[in-house]
């Protein structure tokens, strides 16, 4: 009896010990491990897609009602665009007024999270590429991937540095070390621009001039962004040289019709250098990290209800912007940028419905409420047109309707490269700035004008209105204080570092916050 017992007990123990580790070693079934991802060109490709994805992040539910569309940080924050509907854009209003723009603003958390997600995704790729077997990718593809990663990192850091100034800097070679507060401290603006420069120069060499999938970064994109980064650093000759290098690729031209840049039928046109690609895929959803579409069209579009066009008209362009077009006699770009009564839309259904693009007081209920200050817009405020889709275009291209807009955003256009060259030359660099400048004007039927900084300032505003530049241009030129009501110099040039980020990053050995705050914020 005893023997049986002892035997059983021993056997049980043995069985348990024998099978334990194997039984308990469960690996993810649907989520690939790093070793799997970097052993196959297809999965690296997917990873690359993932590195582009933060570009499309517009809404981050993790922070509440957090919107991180770039126009909020550039156009709303300038004298071009206002927030009409405070109710649904509660955290965007401060970008217009510079009031209550605190370090707890969830939009700011959103943009911070978005671009650092981009940086981290890129660094994971670069790190993996360093270790991947040569025959997995082949030399050409490996270089292409590396170039794309470098380009994206440069772009993400460019957005970070122009919004936040000094930020923590991580590369694949020098990653953040959570254990070392030193590694996640903010690095001077020069260091960030230095990294941007290194990445873009390397990317321009690694990347092809054209890509089969046109939304992928190219040599031209890297050079154009490099030119823009130099412009922000006021390295005029470098900016001019980089811009000239783009011109010398002989790949890009101005569209004959300015408006065609913003037409869904002309994505990746001859003027386009780099676009954020939206497919409008309904399956990817809206409002989330997987979204493949833009909410911007929904937010900007008129809410006309003669019958339909159901935009939410959250934003309107300002009378100042309209006046700038009118004073310059710039009818072509005005029509493409701002809707006015009498404008023609190539849309039978709009014509049938008698669409009149004058802000008609939809959701006036909110605008009227005492909280929003009552009636705050008249006829001079207008709907923006660059994000607009006609009902016919929606039917043809946007399976998910206006909320899932497939209309790409052109981040870098050839016209901007020409204006960068012109500005650099106007500021003293050598190069054919006047010709570039006149080319941009001639395309919209405007007479040549002698090159000057003032002329450039106006031209950039008119050419690039609502295209994510205006605020940073004003800051660059030192004009923000003059042009922007409520702008507090010494504070509002930069956004606050999100408070949550400062708290969770903790303190260093000396008891100081690892992440310091920008001046004027707490």
């Amino acid at each position: 009896m005893k023997r049986i017992l002892v035997t059983i007990t021993l056997l049980l123990v043995l069985i348990v010990l024998d099978s334990c580790e194997e039984f308990l070693d469960q690996q993810p079934v649907t989520e690939p491990l790093p070793s799997v991802v970097f052993s196959d060109a297809g999965t690296i490709q997917l990873l690359m897609e993932g590195a582009y994805q933060p570009l499309r992040w517009e809404f981050n539910p993790a922070f509440g009602d957090s919107y991180s569309m770039n126009y909020i940080f550039t156009d709303v924050r300038s004298d071009d665009v206002i927030v009409e509907n405070h109710f649904f854009q509660p955290h965007s209003h401060g970008f217009e007024t510079f009031v209550d723009l605190t370090s707890e603003n969830v939009n700011i958390q959103g943009i911070w999270a978005k671009y650092f997600a981009g940086v981290n995704r890129v660094n994971i790729i670069i790190q993996g590429l360093n270790e991947v077997d040569e025959d997995v990718l082949g030399a050409e593809l490996a270089l292409d991937f590396l170039g794309e990663a470098q380009f994206l990192r440069a772009y993400y850091y460019f957005e970070l540095v122009r919004n936040f100034g000094a930020v923590p800097l991580a590369t694949a070679e020098q990653p953040f070390d959570p254990a070392s507060p030193e590694s996640i401290k903010r690095r001077p603006i020069e260091d960030i621009f230095q990294q941007i420069k290194l990445d873009l120069i390397s990317a321009s060499a690694n990347l092809p001039v054209t890509q089969v999938e046109p939304y992928r970064a190219t040599t031209g994109a890297a050079l154009a962004l490099l030119a823009k980064a130099y412009l922000y650093q006021e390295k005029w000759q470098n900016a001019a040289d980089a811009a000239q290098a783009v011109i010398d690729l002989n790949r890009y031209e101005l569209e004959e019709d300015y408006a065609s840049n913003f037409s869904i039928e002309n994505e990746f046109g001859i003027e386009s250098i780099w676009e954020i690609n939206y497919t409008g895929d309904p399956a990817a959803g809206q409002w989330g990290p997987n979204s493949q579409s833009s909410l911007t069209a929904q937010f900007f579009s008129p809410s006309f209800d003669g019958t339909n066009v159901f935009g939410w008209s959250y934003h309107l362009t300002t009378p100042e912007l309209l006046a700038a077009f009118q004073n310059e006699g710039d009818q072509v770009r005005r029509v493409a940028t701002i809707m006015q009564e009498g404008d023609v839309f190539e849309s039978q259904s709009l014509a049938d419905a008698g669409f009149n693009p004058v802000p008609n007081g939809f959701l006036a209920s909110w605008a009227n409420s005492p909280e929003s200050g009552g009636q705050r817009y008249g006829d001079d405020f207008a709907y923006s047109r660059k994000y607009f889709l006609t009902p016919e275009e929606i039917d043809a291209y946007a399976a998910g309707g206006l909320q899932l807009s497939p209309l790409n955003h052109k981040v870098l256009r050839y016209a901007e490269v020409l204006l960068i060259l012109a500005e650099a030359v106007a500021m003293g660099a050598s190069g054919n700035g006047q010709e570039a400048f006149d080319q941009v004007r001639a395309r919209v039927g405007l007479a040549p004008k002698p090159l000057s900084l003032d002329a450039i300032k106006l031209e950039r505003r008119l050419e690039l209105a609502t295209e994510w530049n205006r605020f940073h241009d004003l800051v660059r030129w030192g004009d923000a204080t003059i042009e922007l009501e409520g702008f507090m110099p010494g504070r509002d040039e930069l956004l606050p570092i999100p408070l949550k980020e400062i708290i969770v990053a903790g303190m260093d050995a000396s008891g100081a916050n690892v992440l310091s705050q920008n001046p004027g914020y707490n």
Binding site: I15, L47, F87, P370, G374, P498, V504
Partner: protein, 1013 residues
């Protein structure tokens, strides 16, 4: 990963086959000189047979229950002592000796019930000798009143258990919390059906359950160690009896349900008055008047008086049919049960239907070898609507739309209350457009959501007694659950009302789960001498859980009927897209040991230790050790208490122990990549995460007195969770997401009272009253990073703020917002300027409420007089707060509760209700102005039954027959202004007590019949 794979890896099967082999090898060995004893049990006074009396051999678990005629048959040996007991009678003990038949007469007594407590692993203990904190919930609770889901049997029945409704919708899950909230993550207790871990109780037919044990303290639950941190609930299924004629029982009820409360929302007249007062206010203040002007009396007369909630609800039936057969021969007994339950939902076309068939079989293969098998198949179909949701405002529309808006226009189309720009009016009376809240009829009519769940569950236990008192047990449990969900949004067009949905949409998803548990354990029961009693178990177990998810969806189908739509009739195949599939597996491997000892039933000791290893943690940290001890002193069994007449039981208990929690996603210790529809992204992970530890101390006192008429159980506990796994906020600059880490701590302490009073007055009347109350205090003691965790939001309030905050020094998920201090002299709200910076900003938010109750309680009253029985059961909570976010405070023209009838005005300047503001969006910051007391007392059930006399039944060849009428939720006492104060968890554990438009609970009246043939 398939099941066969799993089998290959689970060496438990090795163990199983080993045990079987050894069993067969030893069948020749027979240890006991046993024989069969027969007899009957009857009432000493009336000589009536007592069916269901327990007949056991003292000091063992061997025993039986008398059959319907009061007879029993039991295998005994001469030296055994027979112990016969039955509720309400004094237990009798007899030495068997040489007798082959013993007829026993039991004396009616209000003496202690020899309550048998199920402690798990096939073991039971007499209530007197239990030193841990365990409560058995009697099957009476389930049998005597109609219960639609098993969780309801727990509601109000134990002071340690809070059952929260997630919805009043038929088939909706219920949340169970034991002794507070032990973790910020998943706080669901561990549930075992016949010793096998199951994910929840949703599939169980309550009629199949014999016993529910609630293991409250750590000493009771730590035998389930690792996963017992949130508490443990043991369910035991019914069986038959040996030597019993087949007995067929049929029970059925049918009833009608209706809305229990229409809430305190304004009616049309009141709304119009409130609206006009709002206009008056603006006029006096010289402010612009948005929208239409005041309503004239003529207009009000024309406008409808729509009670929205009435429009969407209707009376719906509820019915249940249960058929059961039990019986047995010498060696085999069985239970076969089948049930069909159907509950219509009072809102729209919601519905729940559950069919199940169950088989329980106990076989005595040899004298010393027993096999128990239990299996059940259950299929249920649930038609549901989205609720309490920010995205679907179906139910919040019901509360938010004023009564002056019609449901339908003159032509019978759903009225579009949000129609813009076209002069919205009803019969010529202009109305303001309310765009934010759609006509709920539209959603109810044109979308159908149905989910079907099929569950197959089976378990088997083989017990082989290899020596006196020593058993080897092998058990296996297996469960699969398939959830198939179909969602359909119809195409519709009401051109008169501009309601148009040109494209219909349809999705199908599958969520399949598989559970397998294998177990082998030795159990030993012995009486050493006359004074020492020892029982022990030691064993190993392995658990495997798998799930997979997939789904597809498409838009624009040719047919527009839910029953006809499928993916073959989509217009364009290109629109068919797949959801991101998901699958996973987790395993746990454990070893455990428990010894229970008592000396002369005076000094009690229990010690357990369990070791668990979970695949949810990395190899270096996957194993946790969970010890526990408890001790008890039965003061009443001491010699010095011998003469005492008052107390029949005084027992002091104390226990300490540690449990674990691994309720986290499967692979959170492995850095990996997340596959979305668009590329891959990296998921950070901390490879060093480990078990959450829940250490709990408990002291308790059990007292029975006055000839057992009164029984009181008191428990005090302190439960500390450390190494709590939370998504520790980490800087975005370090990467996306916040990996789970062991950083936080939370503490729960509480006090529980369970009191019973039972008495018999004369021979015909008996009374039984149970009361229980549980207090719990919850506090987060450490959060690791110092960054509070926010949860729950709604757009009804300004800036869609987080409503709850989990922070150090406060209960988990406390409400967090501005503090309303009163009204200024124009009737507008004033908030406390916490940081005294002269402005009211987000920085002035503070803790303003707690969604969890200070205490919960239940009262159960049952009386019997001759054939009549009466039971009433009520339960309630006190001190829990609810945010009434069912109305659109953030949207113009939305409805209000009747609180605004007392709104501030020049005539009523002392009011605490802000001035009329129907036209504006003001005061919609989240503040305690919107927090209401969610305390309630609800009469959950009241039943009157009549059992027909035996003499009559004999003539119609029935064994027993009972008829009853029963009412559920007939009365609710609450100050809450919404439809229903019972607001449970929504989506996340940190989203509790927020009423965004809940499906209100139904009241019902039922008639039932129970027959035994």
């Amino acid at each position: 990963m398939h099941f066969t794979d799993a089998l290959n890896k689970i060496d438990l099967f090795k163990i199983g086959s080993l045990v079987v082999l050894l069993t067969i090898a030893s069948l020749q060995i027979s240890y006991s000189q046993s024989r069969i004893l027969t007899g009957s049990v009857s009432d000493a006074a009336s000589s009536e047979w007592i069916p269901g009396a327990t007949v056991i051999i003292k000091g063992t678990n061997t025993g039986t229950i008398t059959d319907i005629n009061g007879f029993y048959q039991l295998e005994v040996s001469a030296k055994d002592t027979l112990s016969i007991s039955f509720v309400g009678y004094a237990t009798k003990e007899l030495l068997i000796g040489n007798q082959s038949s013993i007829d026993v007469q039991l004396e009616v007594d209000v003496q202690a019930l020899e309550e048998i407590i199920v402690t798990g692993y096939g073991q039971t203990q007499n209530r007197v000798t239990v030193s841990t904190s365990i409560q058995s919930i009697s099957p009476k609770v389930i049998e005597d009143r109609p219960i639609t889901r098993l969780e309801q049997a727990l509601q109000g029945a134990s002071p340690a258990v809070v059952v929260m409704k997630e919805s009043g919708s038929p088939g909706a899950p219920l949340t169970i919390r034991m002794r507070g909230i032990s973790t910020a993550g998943d706080s669901d207790p561990l549930i075992l059906l016949n010793g096998v871990q199951i994910p929840d109780m949703s599939f169980i037919n309550p009629n199949d359950i014999q016993n529910i044990s609630v293991l409250k303290d750590a000493s009771a639950s730590s035998i389930y160690g690792a996963r017992g941190g949130n508490g443990v609930i043991l369910l035991q299924t019914k069986g038959g009896d040996n030597d019993q004629q087949p007995r067929v029982s049929l029970s059925t009820y049918y009833g009608v349900q209706s809305l229990s409360s229409e809430g305190n929302y304004l009616n049309g007249q009141e709304y119009a008055t409130y609206y006009n007062n709002s206009v008056n206010y603006l006029i006096r203040q010289g402010l612009p008047i948005p929208g239409r002007g005041k309503f004239t009396d003529e207009e009000i007369a024309i406008l409808p008086e729509t009670t929205w909630v009435r429009e969407i609800t209707s009376e719906r039936p509820i019915s249940d049919v249960q058929l059961g057969v039990t019986g047995g021969s010498d060696d085999v007994n069985y239970y076969v049960g089948t049930g069909w339950f159907n509950q219509g939902g009072i809102i729209g076309n919601t519905d729940f239907d559950r069919k199940s068939i169950t088989l329980g079989l106990e076989t005595q293969i040899r004298d010393n070898l027993e096999l128990n098998v239990f299996s059940t198949y259950s299929t249920n179909t649930r038609t549901f609507i989205p609720e309490n949701s920010e995205n679907s405002r179906l139910l919040s529309s019901v509360a938010s739309l004023p009564s002056i808006y019609p449901v339908y226009d003159e032509n019978g189309n759903p009225f579009n209350n949000g129609r813009q720009g076209s002069g919205l009016n009803y019969r010529g009376v202009p109305l303001n457009a309310i765009a934010e809240f759609g006509n709920p009829i539209l959603g109810l009519t044109h979308s159908i959501n149905e989910s079907q769940q099929d569950v197959l569950y089976a378990n088997a236990i083989l017990s082989w007694e290899i020596a006196d008192g020593l058993k080897v047990n092998t058990s296996g449990g297996y469960m699969t659950r398939e959830n198939f969900t179909r969602l359909f949004g119809e195409r519709f067009d009401y051109p008169d009302q501009d309601y148009l949905n040109e494209i219909n949409t349809y999705t199908e998803t599958n969520f399949d789960e598989l559970f397998f548990q294998g177990e082998a354990f030795l159990s030993y029961d012995a009486k050493l001498g006359s004074a020492h009693s020892l029982s022990a178990i030691a064993g190993v177990s392995a658990l495997n859980q798998e799930f997979s998810f997939n789904g597809i969806g498409a838009t624009d189908f040719f047919p527009n009927e839910f029953d006809e739509v499928n993916f073959s009739n989509v217009k364009d195949f290109a629109s068919v897209t797949s959801f991101i599939p998901n699958a996973g597996r987790s395993t746990v491997q454990s070893a455990y040991l428990r010894t229970v000892y008592n000396y002369q039933e005076k000094y009690l000791l229990t010690g357990t230790v369990r070791s668990d290893a979970s695949s949810r943690f990395g190899p270096n940290n996957n194993r946790g050790y969970f010890p526990s001890f408890s001790a008890g002193w039965v003061v009443s069994n001491e010699p010095f208490m011998a003469g005492n007449e008052v107390f029949s039981l005084i027992k002091l208990r104390a226990s300490w122990g540690v449990n674990g929690i691994d309720n986290i996603p499967n692979y959170d210790h492995i850095p990996r990549f997340n596959r979305s529809l668009n590329g891959l992204s990296f998921i950070q992970a901390d490879p060093n995460i480990k078990w959450e530890q829940v250490s709990q101390s408990n002291i308790g006192l059990d007292i029975d007195l006055l000839d057992n008429r009164v029984g009181v159980t008191l428990d005090y506990y302190v439960k500390n969770t450390s190494d709590m796994l939370i998504n520790l906020p980490s800087p975005e600059i370090l990467g996306e997401g916040d990996p789970i880490r062991n950083t936080a701590s939370v503490s729960n302490s509480g006090f529980e009272v369970l009191a019973t009073y039972r008495d018999k007055i004369g021979s015909e009347f008996s009374l039984d009253v149970n009361f229980n109350i549980g207090f719990n205090k919850n506090e987060v003691t450490d959060l690791g990073s110092g960054q509070a965790i926010d949860g729950a939001s709604t757009r009804v309030f300004k800036d869609a703020p987080a409503l709850t905050r989990t922070d150090e020094g406060h209960p988990i998920a406390s409400f967090f917002g501005l503090q309303f201090t009163g009204l200024d002299k124009s009737g507008n709200p004033i908030y406390r300027d916490i940081n005294e910076d002269g402005a009211i900003t987000d920085a002035d938010r503070t803790f303003i409420g707690n969604p969890f109750p200070e205490f919960n309680y239940g009262i159960n009253l049952s009386m019997k007089y001759k054939g009549f029985d009466f039971t009433a059961f009520a339960s309630g909570t006190e001190g829990n707060d609810v945010v009434n976010a069912s109305m659109g405070y953030g949207f113009q023209y939305s409805n209000r509760t009747d609180r605004v009838l007392e709104a501030w005005s020049i005539e009523n300047p002392n009011s605490s209700v802000m001035r009329p503001s129907a036209l504006e969006v003001v005061n919609h910051e989240f503040s305690d102005y919107y927090i209401e007391d969610g305390s309630y007392l609800r009469l959950r059930n009241i039943t009157i039954g009549y059992t027909l006399p035996k003499s009559f039944l004999k003539s119609i060849k029935l064994n027993s027959m009972r008829v009853y009428i029963s009412g559920n939720n007939l009365l609710t006492f609450t100050n809450y202004s919404g439809y229903d104060p019972e607001i449970g968890v929504n989506n996340s554990p940190l989203d509790v007590g927020v009423d965004r438009g809940f499906y209100p609970i139904a009241k019902s009246v039922m008639g039932g019949l129970q027959l035994v043939f």
